[in-house]
């Protein structure tokens, strides 16, 4: 392990793609650009090998802390714990797959495309490993520009609309995040996240910080009323863009809830938990129901993402070991499965030049290998036992039942809806009768396509059958985070007990509490947690 201390793994992983992007500058030939990027991305995977030395324990590992602007308390701080390690692996793993799935899909401005991919990887790894609020914000915003370009340059017919909507929506969400960061700095005295986590803030402060965080993260996830940018962005983005969007970008929102909302604003998180659970359930049901009615495959997967991410936020805000573990596991699963499904849609789009389901019928006959993968990821997507999707979803649903029977019963239709829309589209695509037999001339999967589909397929089955290894990695961090959370959330219980007057509770400062308020017992059950 001493060796690893000398090797700044996270810095290298973060900035290698950025530095390597410069290597692409002098290259003229498109093919060479693709090959070089593939090599760069494989090197990135190799560079990530030291991260396998991640120990199953709480606290941050691979820490790198260097003063950045001393006068202002900015630090350059990177580190990983059980919550972020899976996301970093996922971001790095997606890069070579994205290069491969764009090999023939992207035909123009190839160099710029690959520079965008590399920049995105830098930003993704940076977001998940930053331990300084400002550094986090830097990476968080830095991701927008390459993602915007990806949709706006290589997107479909409505690329302008989708890309601008994406950019403005997500940027607008994160403006208040900056305000929250500044407020935390002045209240907590530092931008360094581990230090901030050890502080306790007043409830009134937490209330507003939580809301500011919520807006930024809920838009990114996206949670139910804030999801409208996602279908547009997904449908218009090229398949590599969709893959990164689904696999990594959405996870930033849920990661934000876990990393910031729970530890920094525990009392407010507990206070808002009923609302968060309600919105999550709404996301699950609404996303599933809308997905059922889609005729565009990409839109269908996009809405299914809304539903799946609902499971993640639900798991987080149940505050139980199973719930949070399941949520983190589901983040990884959704990244792998949905990423793979978008790659498949990209592959079939290259053949049929359409994303409409009716233009992609009878594939069971024409593209049997393709349908095999589609079936596998489809099953994983609705949580068929034996696939990784089952493990994550099962844990979250179990946690929901532990919480209350009603909640569990509300979530079950969501899981059923997932089965319904996936089976419906799979049925049509596999056995539907196409209007013209144009599919006869399509070639089944090529070697490159096999290459980028086998990796997620392996993960789907491996993680489905043997999830314990990864779960053991994340459990200590989650346990630790939940223990701290339990210790600090009580601030809010105190307040609920003592606010019989019916004033808006968020505006009550702890000072005016009187714990022996008479009608307390009537109010407690209403608010749940």
């Amino acid at each position: 392990m001493d060796l690893f201390n000398l090797y700044p793994a996270l810095t290298v992983l973060t900035f290698w793609p950025l530095a390597a992007a410069l290597l692409l500058a002098p290259i003229k030939s498109d093919l060479l650009v693709r090959q070089t990027t593939l090599v760069i991305s494989l090197i990135e995977v190799v560079l990530a090998i030291p991260l396998l030395g991640f120990k199953s324990q709480a606290g941050f590992q691979f820490l790198e802390v260097i003063p950045w602007v001393e006068g202002w308390g900015l630090t350059y701080a990177l580190g990983v714990d059980g919550i972020s390690i899976l996301m970093i692996w996922l971001s790095i793993l997606m890069l070579p797959l994205c290069v491969l799935c764009s090999w023939t899909y992207i035909g123009r401005r190839v160099k710029e495309f690959h520079v965008c991919l590399l920049l995105m990887t830098t930003a993704c790894v940076g977001v998940f490993s930053a331990l300084d609020l400002v550094l986090f914000y830097v990476f968080w915003e830095a991701l927008l520009i390459p993602m915007y370009l990806m949709i706006a340059v290589w997107g479909g017919d409505q690329k302008r609309y989708a890309s601008i909507k994406f950019f403005i929506y997500t940027l607008a969400g994160s403006t208040l995040l900056l305000v929250a960061i500044v407020a935390l700095r002045l209240e907590g005295g530092t931008f360094f996240i581990p230090d901030l986590m050890s502080k306790t803030f007043s409830f009134r402060f937490q209330y507003w910080i939580f809301l500011a965080f919520f807006l930024a993260f809920a838009i990114k996830v996206p949670m139910f009323p804030f999801h409208t940018w996602l279908p547009a962005a997904h449908v218009q983005a090229p398949s590599a863009g969709s893959v990164i969007l689904a696999a990594v970008l959405l996870k930033m929102g849920t990661y934000g809830f876990l990393r910031f909302s729970l530890p920094l604003t525990p009392a407010a998180s507990a206070y808002f938990a009923p609302m968060m659970i309600a919105i999550s359930v709404a996301s699950i049901l609404y996303g599933g129901a809308v997905a059922l009615g889609q005729s565009d495959v990409k839109k269908l997967i996009a809405y299914s993402s809304v539903a799946h991410m609902g499971f993640v936020t639900l798991g987080i805000f149940l505050f139980s070991q199973a719930g949070v573990n399941g949520a983190i596991f589901q983040m990884l699963n959704h990244g792998v499965i949905t990423g793979a499904m978008f790659m498949l849609v990209g592959a079939v789009y290259e053949r049929s030049h359409s994303r409409e389901i009716v233009k992609n019928l009878g594939l069971g006959k024409y593209l049997p290998h393709f349908m095999f993968f589609w079936g596998l990821f489809g099953l994983a997507s609705f949580g068929f036992p034996g696939t990784n999707g089952f493990v994550g979803e099962f844990m979250v649903i179990m946690a929901a039942f532990q919480e209350s029977l009603c909640l569990g019963l509300l979530v079950i239709p969501g899981a059923l809806l997932a089965a319904a829309y996936i089976l419906k589209v799979t049925l049509k695509m596999a056995w539907g009768q196409p209007a013209s037999p144009q599919g006869r001339n399509w070639l089944d999967l090529k070697k490159k396509e096999w290459a980028y589909l086998v990796v997620p397929a392996f993960l789907v089955i491996y993680l489905g059958l043997a999830p314990t290894g990864l779960l053991n990695l994340i459990t200590p961090s989650v346990k630790d985070a939940l223990a701290t959370f339990e210790a600090k959330k009580n601030l809010v219980n105190l307040i609920q007990v003592s606010s019989p007057t019916g004033r808006p509770q968020g505006l009550i400062i702890e000072e005016d509490l009187s714990p022996e308020a008479p009608s307390a017992s009537e109010r407690v059950p209403e608010e749940g947690k």
Partner: protein, 482 residues
């Protein structure tokens, strides 16, 4: 305080610019074209020398000319920026053919005179001196703006600037007289300890507001901004680049010195906060609707004037330092924008968004640097605009102006649309309209590339490693606070 204390060693930038002004004055009179041209070539060298001189005298602290003139870290910091801006403007003017040959020496004479005025302004520490230096800088501009030959819009812009400028000057003078009448002193340092509350000394507070109004005119702060978009649009690209940057810098330094009067905060701080919020919102909303790039930048500068003012509101050393830092950021971002605009518009025409279409293919470097400037203007990391804004809002939040911070941040979401348009047209729009600036040859010479690269690097590097500059401005602003 009561002695002349003339130390030439402290006045290198002033002496160099004064000499340059005199030389250019001679050049405007000689008949021989060659001599005039040779003299014009001296300008960038002199600017570099002056910047160097300012850097050499950076750590000095002295009061000259009976205490009316202060040489300190802050003044030298601004002088370096003025020299940089002057240098960039000079290079911009080489590519623009809008000033007729015979007027060239005069054009440079007044440009230099204006920069000289700003250099004096950086150090002025007494209200009458401030006023005189400011007028020296402004009167030259009255002549520069209509210099775009055979352009009616330029004439209109010039007229507008003179009329508005005269009105603002009158206001400022009136305010000055009120201040003198009520406080009986004009030295900023002596004024700092006095009572500026409206209840305690209404005459002085009114006077200060009016005097600041004169500065707000230069800064193009809402509601003193009406000249700004028209002047940007009417003046030549290179002149607009100058008007957009340096005179505002002058206004900022005066406001920073005056803001020391507002510490601890008074009612005037609240007025400033409201003006800042109004200016930011109004500027951004108006910029949304613009098609002409320079007009858009005009409204964007109205918004940025508001941002700078945010730093003056709290009246703390951090706030003043943040304002100074953001002024520098503003200068760099705008110089970069105008640098690219001047390179694209080879015949000096005004550009629209469509003229940027396909720029990323025609000149990757210019497109990239314009993108950097655009994102820095929005305040996206990792640029100097982001760090500057972060410090502004931190210092405002620190003194309880949380509503102002929220206004600033929400405005980012409004502003992103039109800055994104800059980026969007460079990178994603590929249809090229007929007869646009694309038909012109792009200036991609070595100087053009080097300048863009240098300014772009400054914007990014100062955004990533702002520590040293921040320490400088922080020490400087601590030293001017009482």
């Amino acid at each position: 305080m009561d002695r002349l204390n003339l130390q030439p060693g402290h006045l290198w930038p002033e002496i160099i610019f004064l000499a340059l002004v005199l030389l250019l004055f001679l050049a405007s009179m000689v008949k021989s074209k060659k001599t005039a041209e040779a003299l014009l070539k001296l300008c960038p060298l002199a600017a570099l020398a002056a910047a160097f001189g300012a850097a050499l005298t950076f750590y000095l602290k002295s009061e000259l000319f009976f205490g009316t003139y202060r040489v300190d870290g802050l003044s030298q910091f601004f002088k370096i920026l003025v020299c940089l801006g002057y240098l960039v403007t000079w290079f911009n003017s080489l590519t623009q053919k809008t000033v007729s040959e015979t007027q060239k020496p005069d054009y440079y004479l007044f440009l230099t005179l204006s920069a000289f005025g700003l250099i004096l302004l950086s150090s002025a520490a007494e209200l009458v001196t401030i006023y005189l230096a400011m007028e020296l800088a402004s009167y030259s501009l009255y002549i520069l703006i209509p210099a775009r030959s055979r352009s009616k819009a330029a004439a209109e812009a010039g007229l507008k600037y003179i009329i508005f400028g005269a009105a603002a000057t009158a206001l400022a003078l009136y305010g000055l007289s009120l201040i003198v009448a009520s406080q009986n002193v004009t030295f900023v340092k002596a004024l700092a300890g006095l009572d500026w509350s409206i209840s305690g000394n209404p005459l002085a507070a009114t006077g200060l507001c009016l005097f600041m109004g004169g500065m707000f005119f230069k800064l193009a702060l809402f509601p003193f901004h009406f000249w700004c978009p028209d002047v940007y649009q009417g003046a030549g690209n290179e002149t607009a680049a100058y008007v957009a940057t340096l005179p505002k810098l002058g206004a900022v330094i005066v406001l920073i010195r005056l803001a020391t009067l507002l510490s601890p905060e008074t009612e005037i701080s609240t007025i400033l906060a409201c003006l800042a919020a109004a200016s930011i919102t109004y500027g951004n909303l108006c910029a949304l609707a613009q098609k002409d790039l320079k007009r858009m930048l005009g409204f964007s500068s109205v918004a940025h004037a508001g941002y700078i003012l945010v730093g003056l509101v709290p009246g703390t050393a951090e706030g003043l330092a943040a304002a100074a830092f953001y002024a520098m950021a503003y200068i760099l971002m705008n110089l970069l924008c105008f640098w690219v605009i001047c390179r694209i518009s080879a015949d000096g025409r005004n550009l629209t968004y469509e003229d940027l279409n396909g720029l990323s293919a025609r000149s990757p470097l210019l497109a990239l640097t314009l993108a950097i400037a655009a994102f820095s203007l929005v305040g996206l990391p990792p640029t100097v605009g982001f760090i500057g804004k972060l410090w502004l809002i931190t210092s405002a939040w620190d003194r309880g102006f949380d509503w102002l911070v929220i206004v600033v941040c929400v405005n980012t979401a409004i502003a992103i649309f039109y800055y994104l348009s800059l980026f969007r047209h460079c990178y994603t729009e590929e249809t090229i309209p007929v007869g646009g600036a694309q038909s012109l040859a792009l200036d991609t010479g070595a100087i053009s590339q080097a300048g863009a690269l240098l300014l772009g690097l400054l914007v990014v590097v100062l955004g990533v490693l702002p520590g040293p500059v921040w320490n400088v401005v922080l020490t400087a602003s601590k030293s001017i606070l009482p």
